[in-house]
C-alpha cells in the first residue's frame, strides 16, 4: 500500500513543529525518517497513526485520506509502534498481542465475548513469526527490551495492516536486537515508515531516507544519495566519512570525534 504525505503541517500551542512535509512510500518500501532530536520525526509519525491531526495537509493510503476514515478502518490498514510502552497494568504478552485484533472486532472486545478462533490463530501466528511464542504467558513488563519490541511487532502483525509505522524501534536495544527488529520489519513485506536515530542502520535497512531538520524535509532519496558529508555537517553538525560495507555494499558512515577538529 502506498503512503503519500502531502503538505503536512503541525502547530502545537502556537509553535510550528513540522511544516509542509511531503513524503512518499511505495508499496513494500522501507522508508526511514532521520534527523536530529527535535526535528519533528515523532510528530510527523504521530500524524500517520492518528495520535495527532495535522493542522494542514493530508496523509493518504493508496489515495484515500487517512484522517477522513473511521478510526477503526484506518487502524486496519496501518499499525504502529509508538515510542511509549507505558503499560501501567501487567498484561501478558498474549494479551498485548490480542489487542492488535481490536480494530477488526465489530463493537470492540466486550467482556461477554470470547476471542474467535480466527483471532486466536492470528495472534499465535504473529507471536510465532517474531519468535516469541514462548513468551505468550509472560507478563509484558517483565520482558527485556528486545522481547518487548518483538511482542509489540507481533501485536502490529496481528493487526493485519498494510502499512507499519515505527517510532525509533531500536531505542535501548543492544546491537543484536537492533538488527533483529529491523530484519523482522523488513521481512514483514509491509510498507514501512520508521524514525531511526542510527544512520548506519538506516542506510543498511531502508530503501529511501527522508532527512528532517527544524520540522522540514531537507533531503530525500536512496541512502547512497542522501547521506553525504556536507548534508550531515549541516543537519547534525558532525564530520562524517563514507565507506562501503564490504559485504552488503550499503553506504556506511564513520564519524570524527568532535575534539579532533
Amino acid at each position: 500500500m502506498r503512503v503519500d504525505v502531502a503538505g503536512v503541517t503541525v502547530e502545537l500551542a502556537g509553535a510550528r513543529i513540522v511544516e509542509d512535509i511531503a513524503l512518499r512510500a511505495d508499496s513494500g518500501q522501507v522508508v526511514g525518517v532521520v534527523g536530529p532530536n527535535g526535528s519533528g520525526k515523532s510528530t510527523l509519525l504521530r500524524c500517520t497513526y492518528r495520535a495527532l491531526r495535522p493542522t494542514a495537509g493530508t496523509v493518504r493510503l493508496d489515495g484515500d485520506d487517512l484522517h477522513a476514515m473511521d478510526a477503526r478502518a484506518g487502524a486496519r490498514l496501518l499499525a504502529a509502534l509508538p515510542q511509549e510502552s507505558a503499560a501501567e497494568f501487567d498484561f501478558t504478552a498474549a494479551e498485548v498481542v490480542a489487542m492488535g485484533r481490536l480494530p477488526h472486532q465489530r463493537g470492540g472486545a466486550p467482556f461477554t465475548g470470547r476471542p474467535s478462533a480466527t483471532d486466536a490463530a492470528l495472534c499465535a501466528e504473529a507471536l510465532d513469526r517474531v519468535g516469541a511464542a514462548h513468551l505468550a504467558g509472560r507478563g509484558f513488563r517483565s520482558l527485556s527490551g528486545g522481547e518487548k519490541q518483538r511482542v509489540l511487532i507481533a501485536r502490529a502483525l496481528a493487526q493485519q495492516p498494510r502499512v507499519l509505522v515505527l517510532d525509533e524501534p531500536t531505542n535501548h536495544l543492544d546491537i543484536a536486537h537492533q538488527l533483529e527488529v529491523l530484519s523482522l520489519v523488513r521481512r514483514s513485506g509491509l510498507t514501512v515508515l520508521a524514525a531511526l536515530h542510527d544512520l548506519n542502520l538506516a542506510a543498511s535497512h531502508c530503501d529511501l531516507l527522508y532527512v528532517l531538520d527544524g520540522g522540514r524535509v531537507v533531503a530525500s532519496g536512496p541512502p547512497h544519495d542522501v547521506l553525504r558529508p556536507r548534508l550531515l555537517a549541516e543537519v547534525f553538525g558532525v564530520r562524517a566519512h563514507r565507506v562501503t560495507h564490504p559485504v552488503t555494499g550499503a553506504v556506511q558512515l564513520l564519524f570524527d570525534r568532535i575534539d579532533q577538529e
Binding site: 497513526y49 504502529a80 509508538p82 510502552s85 470470547r114 509472560r138 530484519s183
Partner: protein, 364 residues
C-alpha cells in the same frame, strides 16, 4: 535472527493464558453463588432475632407472592422492608464502586486511583451536608438527601470536566489534578459546614454520611442506583477491549483505532454518573473501589475483559458482608461501613500484595 539467549521457564509460557480463560467463568459462578448466599445472610442476620427458617419463608413468600400469618407481619417487615433492601443496596453499591474503580484506574492510567479521585463524591458530600445540617430541600421529604447529593455530585462532575478538558480531550494527569484539587475545595466546604453546625446530632449524621452508611436504605433508594450501576457495568463491559488499549497509552490506543480523548470523556461521564448514583444512597464508602480492582487483577490478570466480569461480583460480596459487620458488631449501634471496609480490607490486601508477583503499576 540471533539465537534466543533468554528463553526461560517454559512453565511460565502458554498455560496461564489458557487457564485464565477457564478461571473466569468458574470464578464468576462461585462469586454469584457467594453473592446469593451473602444476600441471604445479610437478610437473616440481625439484632432482632428472626430465625433462619422464618427468613427463608418470608423471602419465599415475598418473591412468589405467597401468604404469611398476621402474627408474622412484624418479623416479615424487618426482613422484607428493612434488611432485604439494605442487603440489595449494599450489593449494588459494592458492584458499582468496584467496576468504576477498574474503569477509573485505566482511564487515568494510575493504579492508585479510585472512584473518588474525580472529586464527584466530595461534591456529593456538600449537597448531603446541606440537607443533614441545614435541612435544605425539605420539600423533597425522604428524597432530599439522595437528590441533593446526586445533583451536587453532577455539578462537581461538570466543574471537574471544565477544569480538566483540553483541546485534545481529557488527559489523565489533568483529570487527576483537577479532581483532586476540587476535592480539597469541596472537603473544605463540608468541614466548614460540619464545624459550624449547631446540633451535635446532625454533625454526627454528617460524619456518618462522609464515612459511608447503608443505614438509610429503603426499597425507594434501590431502583435508580441499581439501574445506573447496571447500565454502567454493561457500558464498561462493552468497552473492555478499548480499556485495554487505553491502559497501554493514548498513542497505542490511537494506533489501534481507539480515540483516546473521546473515549476518556465518555468514561468520565459514565463513571461520574455511577459514582454520583451510588454515593447519593450510601455516602462515600472508601477502599472498595481501590482494592477490589487490584484483588481481581491479582487473580485473573489485567485484561479488562476478565476484570470487568469479576470485579462487580467481588465488590458486591465484599460490601454485603462489610455492611453486615457494620450493623452487627456493636449492635444496636452502627459503625460506618467505610470503617469496616478498611478494617477488613487493609490486612487482606497487604497479605495478597506481599504474597505474589503482582506489581501495582510502576516498575518491579
Amino acid at each position: 535472527m540471533p539465537a534466543m539467549t533468554t528463553a526461560p521457564a517454559p512453565a511460565a509460557a502458554g498455560p496461564p493464558a489458557l487457564t485464565r480463560s477457564r478461571v473466569v467463568p468458574a470464578s464468576a459462578a462461585v462469586l454469584s453463588l457467594l453473592l446469593l448466599g451473602s444476600l441471604v445472610c445479610g437478610v437473616g442476620l440481625g439484632a432482632s432475632g428472626v430465625t433462619w427458617g422464618e427468613t427463608l419463608h418470608f423471602l419465599g413468600a415475598g418473591l412468589s407472592g405467597g401468604t404469611i400469618r398476621s402474627d408474622e407481619v412484624a418479623a416479615y417487615t424487618i426482613v422484607w422492608e428493612i434488611r432485604l433492601p439494605r442487603a440489595v443496596l449494599a450489593a449494588v453499591v459494592g458492584a458499582g464502586l468496584a467496576s468504576v474503580g477498574v474503569a477509573v484506574q485505566a482511564m487515568v492510567r494510575n493504579a492508585l486511583a479510585d472512584p473518588f479521585v474525580l472529586g464527584v463524591s466530595s461534591g456529593a458530600a456538600v449537597g448531603a451536608n446541606a440537607v443533614l445540617l441545614w435541612g435544605a430541600f425539605a420539600a423533597l421529604g425522604v428524597w432530599a438527601l439522595s437528590v441533593s447529593a446526586f445533583v451536587s455530585a453532577l455539578a462537581a462532575m461538570a466543574l471537574v470536566y471544565m477544569a480538566a478538558r483540553t483541546a485534545y480531550g481529557l488527559t489523565p494527569l489533568r483529570l487527576v489534578l483537577a479532581g483532586t484539587a476540587l476535592s480539597y475545595g469541596f472537603s473544605a466546604l463540608t468541614t466548614l459546614m460540619v464545624f459550624r453546625a449547631e446540633r451535635g446530632e446532625a454533625a454526627r449524621a454528617a460524619m456518618m454520611w462522609l464515612l459511608g452508611s447503608l443505614g438509610g436504605a429503603t426499597w425507594g433508594s434501590v431502583p435508580l442506583a441499581a439501574v445506573t450501576v447496571l447500565v454502567g457495568i454493561l457500558y464498561l463491559g462493552a468497552r473492555a477491549g478499548h480499556l485495554n488499549a487505553l491502559a497501554m497509552g493514548d498513542e497505542t490506543a490511537a494506533a489501534l483505532g481507539v480515540r483516546a480523548g473521546r473515549l476518556r470523556t465518555e468514561l468520565f461521564v459514565v463513571t461520574a454518573a455511577v459514582t454520583a448514583a451510588v454515593v447519593a444512597v450510601s455516602g462515600a464508602i472508601g477502599f472498595v473501589g481501590l482494592m477490589v480492582p487490584h484483588v481481581v487483577r491479582m487473580l485473573v490478570g489485567a485484561d479488562h475483559r476478565r476484570v470487568l466480569v469479576l470485579a462487580p461480583l467481588a465488590g458486591a460480596v465484599l460490601l454485603v458482608w462489610a455492611d453486615l459487620v457494620s450493623r452487627l458488631l456493636l449492635a444496636p449501634a452502627e459503625i460506618p461501613v467505610g470503617v469496616i471496609t478498611a478494617v477488613l480490607g487493609v490486612p487482606c490486601f497487604l497479605l495478597l500484595m506481599r504474597r505474589g508477583g503482582y506489581a501495582f503499576g510502576g516498575g518491579r
